[in-house]
Amino acid sequence: MVDIDWWGLIVPFAYLVVLSGTFMTFSTIYRKRKATQSANLAPWFGPHLQRNIYLSLLHMEPEANGSEKAAAAKTPKVPESVIRAALLRRAVEDIHRIIQIRTAKAACSSLLQRGSVGDDLWQRFQRAEKEMEEELRDVVMEANALAPNWGQIIFQSANEIAANTVLKQRLDEIQAQTEREKEWWEKRRSTIKTESLKKLEDESEKTQGKVGSEDEPVLVDTNTPSATPVSGGGSKKKKGRK
């Protein structure tokens, strides 16, 4: 029988204990830190206002917790049409977010490959992507609950709404310039420069007689405000129209 020398074994055992202890402490601390880090990652998007409104509407009455359809029917205060409108708004916002994610994806991944952005940005991005998927699925389910087969077309409608809103905004912006442009042109026309007047004269071959001296264009122009328009008339006529 070999007599075990317990005292001699203490050293290797202690060594093992210390070693594994260190590893364990390290790994728990490391994991905890990582978890808090990813929990503290700033979300990609801000708060989803439309979603909050939609859910708030559903929860406006205490008994409105159950299935949306039944609840909405039971509570006369929130008509179903409002809920549907709110869900549609939510879908529109989702469309905006999807577009953002799609456009950001290529840029993000190439930046990451080049090492221009940190790892946590990519993590945030992936999380946003996953959340979006969940969100879409949720909206489709809600839509199907509100109206039969609405889930299949709600995002088509939302997509058109989003596109139309963007278009209308741009057009409104452009049309809003009209007044300013008109004012500017009036001012400009009254103080129009000598050269352009002279050129108009040449082009239109109008008899604007008195503009012999180039120093007083204002006089002629204010007297005959239609001088400028007439000049363009000839060249325009030939253009076709739709």
Partner: protein, 211 residues
């Protein structure tokens, strides 16, 4: 939106008569409540427009088969505008085009935006032309720009019209940039090339006379 299972409960109230949603109670910061107000206004507008749906539909139908009534109206207004234009009553033509634009732009938002672009770009382009006949270069320039915004490609006339308006207003540099951009989009359009040549000629002339 950090968690999918939670949401922020907003204090909303509903107007029993109009069914309009409003925010109740004081929300925290001024800015958040302002965005909330804007969003609620949009929601109420959408809700009202949902009421215009015909009986069997409770939700917006798929965008593709379009209710032909509005398109027919828009086309009719454009035709009337064109007829007035041909009779050289440009003011009347502008009125018809403006009505047509209103009709086209108040189309329910869930109908295809491509269709809206198609209708709107023609109306804007025609209205620009009518403004040009009345020597409203500023309005013409704005309308032509709007037309291009609605449809960038295959819209050479609108590119040309804004270019012409800018030239008439003496904004030659701007006109050159604009027409150059138009050529990039439209390819070698003959009329645009001519206009560009003209603009460049005038710029050179200006320089020569200025020097």
């Amino acid at each position: 939106m950090s968690d999918l299972d939670t949401f922020t409960l907003l204090h909303l109230r509903i107007d029993p008569q109009s069914k309009a949603i409003g925010s109740a109670g004081a929300t925290a910061a001024g800015t958040t409540s302002r965005t909330l107000e804007a969003e609620l206004a949009a929601l109420n507008a959408l809700h009202r427009s949902l009421h215009s749906l015909e009986a069997p539909h409770v939700v917006p139908p798929p965008p593709v088969p379009v209710n032909p009534k509005r398109s027919a109206n828009v086309t009719k207004l454009r035709e009337s505008g064109n007829a007035e234009y041909r009779k050289q009553r440009y003011g009347e033509a502008i009125k018809f085009y403006t009505l047509g634009l209103q009709m086209a732009l108040t189309r329910p938002a869930w109908e295809p935006s491509q269709l809206v672009r198609e209708e709107v770009h023609q109306l804007y382009s025609n209205r620009a032309q009518a403004h040009m006949q009345l020597a409203g270069w500023a309005e013409g320039a704005v309308d032509a720009e709007a037309s291009v915004e609605a449809k960038r490609q295959g819209n050479a006339k609108a590119w040309l019209r804004r270019g012409r308006c800018l030239v008439e207003m003496g904004r030659l540099e701007e006109a050159r940039d604009w027409v150059g951009k138009g050529l990039e989009v439209e390819g070698q359009e003959k009329e645009l090339l001519e206009l560009l040549k003209e603009v460049e000629g005038r710029i050179a002339q200006d320089k020569a006379s200025g020097a």
